[in-house]
Amino acid sequence: MTQLDMPAQAPVLTQDGRPLKASLSRALRREKLRAFVLILPLLAFVLLTFAAPIVDMLLRSVDNSIVPQTLPRTVVALELWDPQTDELPEEPAYAALVEDLREAVAQKMHTRLGSRLNYEQSGFSSLMRKSGRAVETISGSDVKGQLIAADSAWADPQIWRTLKLYSGTTTKGYFLSALDARQTLDGVEMLPEGERIYLMLFGRTLMMSLTITLLCALIGYPVAFLLAQLPMRTSNMLMILVLLPFWTSLLVRTSAWKVLLQQQGVINDMLVWIGLISDGNRLVMMNNATGTIIAMTHILLPFMILPLYSVMKTISPSYMRAARSLGANDWTAFWRIYFPQSVPGIGAGAVLVFILAIGYYITPELVGGTSGIFISNRIAYHISSSLNWGLAAALGALLLIAVLVLFYVYDKVVGIDNVKLG
C-alpha cells in the first residue's frame, strides 16, 4: 500500500523489504543454479566417459613424445647436425645414442621406439632390437665405429635424417600418413600413385555413402509419399513395416543379408529356380561393394523414410488440388508444387543417412570383403591388429571432422532440437 505514496524514482520493494529488482535477479540466479545442478551430473559423466576419450584420441594423433623421452641426449646432440649433408653425425651423437639406448633397454622402451619409427621408415624396428642387444658390449672410445659394426644401418645418413625429423614432441607424421603423404627434408610429398591407400579408402567411403544415400532417397521417397497420402489408419499399419526393421538389431539385419546374399543363399536359389541365371554362374553379391551397398541401403532406409514422412505430412493437399484445378496435369502438379515442398525432408533424411553411413563399421566388416570396406574398418585394423594407434587416431580425427561438418549442416537445415525418435 505504502508503495503508492512513494516518489516514482524510489526502488520498488518486495514484501520482505528488498528491492524488487535485486529480488528478481536473485530468483533468476537460483533458477539458473537449479537447472545447472540438474544438468551437472550428466555433463560430468559425458565429459569424463566420452568427451575426454575423444580429446585424448585427438592428442594421440599428433603425439610423438616417445622419441624425445626415450632418446633425450641424442635429440640434443643431433641439434648441431645438418641433415641436408650426406655426412654422418659426429662421435658425440653416437655416444649419446648408446647411452640413451642403454637406459631404454633397461626400461624395455627400445622396441616400442623401434615400432614407432618403423611407421616412418621401415627397418627401424629390427635396427632398434639389434642395437639394443649391441649396446651392452660397446665400451671405450670410437663408439661410432663399434655401433656401425653392430649394425651397418647406422652408417646410413637416411636413418639419422628420419631420427632428426621425428625428434619433436609432436608430429604431423600420422596425419600425413593418413593422407598418403610423408615428410621429407624438402617438405611434404605425396606417396607414389600406387601406394595411396587412405585417400582411396576415404574416396570410396564417400562414394559408397553417397550411393547409399541416393538409393535410400530414391526408394524411400515413394514409400513416404504413399504413407503421407493414405488415411491415418492404413498408414499407421504400413508404418509398422518401416519401424520393424528400424527396431530390429543391426546384427540381425546384417546376418539376414549375409544369409540371403550367399552364393548358395536364398536369392541365388530363387534366381536359379526361375531360370534367370544358370546354376553354374550364381551371382557374387557378397564380400564386395555390392553386398555392402545392398545391406546398408536396407539398414539405413528407415532413417530416410521417417524424416521424409514427417515433412510430407505437413504439406497441405489443397496446393495440389489448386494446381490441378488450374489445369496442371498430375505430373506437373507433383513436380512443380509437391516436390519442392518435400525437399527439406529429402535434405534432412539424406544428411542423416550420410552421417550414419560414413562411420559404419559392422556391416562393411561382415559383408564387404576387401573391396567393400570403409575407412572405419581400417581404423579398427590399426587399433587391434597393426597397433599403429597414432595412425588410427589420425584417421579417426579426419573422419570425425567430416562428420562434424556434416552435422553442422544438419543442424542448420533441421536443427538438433527437432530430432524425433519413432
Binding site: 533458477e31 537449479r34 537447472a35 545447472f36 540438474l38 544438468i39 550428466l42 555433463l43 559423466f45 566420452f50 568427451a51 584420441m57 526408394i219 515413394p222 514409400v223 504413399l226 488415411p231 491415418m232 504400413l238 513395416l241 518401416v242 520393424l244 527396431w247 530390429t248 538389431s249 543391426l250 546384427l251 540381425v252 539385419r253 546384417t254 546376418s255 539376414a256 543379408w257 549375409k258 544369409v259 548358395q264 536364398v266 536359389d269 536396407h298 528407415p302 498430375d330 560414413i358 562411420g359 559404419y360 563399421y361 559392422i362 566388416e365 572405419s376 581404423i379 579398427a380 587399433i383 587391434s384 587416431a393 579417426g396 570425425l400 562428420v403 530430432v419 524425433k420 525418435l421 519413432g422
Partner: protein, 284 residues
Amino acid sequence: MSSLPSYASPLQRTWHYTFRIICGLIFFFLVFPILVIIPLSFNAQDFFTFTPEMLALDPAGYSTKHYVDFFTNPDWQKALKNSFMIAPTATLLATVLGTLAAIGLSQPHVPFRSVIMAILISPMIVPLIIAAAGMYFFYSRIGLQGTYWGVVMAHAVLGTPFVIITVTATLVGFDNSLVRAAASMGAGPITTFFKVQMPLILPGVVSGALFAFITSFDEVVVVLFLGSASQKTLPWQMFIGLREQISPTILAVASIMVVLSVVLLTVLELLRRRSERLRGVTPA
C-alpha cells in the same frame, strides 16, 4: 492419390496401380530379409537356404535343433547372461542421469544451453568406431578397459542422448504451473517431482529407457574394443559367429531378437498413445 476417382483416365489408372506395386515391392524389401530368417531358423539341416523338404512342407525338414543349441551351448548362454548383466545397469545409469538433465535443460533460463546440448547429444553423432577407439585408448590408461564397469559406462553414455530427446519431447507439453501449484500447497521439491512431474513425463522416461536398453543390448563396436572375453555380449558372439564360422544357431538367435523387437515396438507404440492422452494431445 489415396483412392482413385471414377473419372480417372486409363493412364491414371495404370499409374495408380503401378505406383502401388512399386511401393509394395519396397515394403517387401524392408521386411522380407527380417522375416525370412524365422522359417530358415527351423531348418533341420545346417544350410542357410530352404531345403527341398522345407519347400514341400515336410515336417522332417523342420527342427528346433538350432534353438536347442542356443539354449544349451555355454558360449551363447554366457553371452546372453552378460548382455542381461550389462544392459540393465547401463540403462538405469543413462535413464537417471538423462532424465535429470532433460528436466534441467527444459528450464527457461539455462546458461550455455546450446553448448551443453551439443556436448550431451554428441555420443549419438560421433561414429561408433571413433568413440570406441577413443574409449579404448583412454579407458586402458585409467584401468577401465576390459572391466564390467568400463563397458557399462560406455554403454550408458551412448544411451543418454536418446533419454534426453524422448524426455525433452514429453516436457514440451508439461505445464509448469502444476509444479507451482504443488509447491504452494506445501509439497517439497522431491515430493513434487515424484507425485506430480514424474507421472506425467513417465511415458517419455520409459521410452527413453527402452532406447537406452536397445542401444546397449544391440551395441557391438564399443564392446569389441572395450570388453575382455568375460564381457562377451550376445551381439559380440553373433559378430564372431558371422565373421568366423557362420553357424545356423545365429539364425535362431536372430529370430528370437526379431520377436523381442516386435514386443518392444508394441510397448513403445502403447506408451506414445498413453503420453498423448495424458497430455491431452489428440493424434493428428
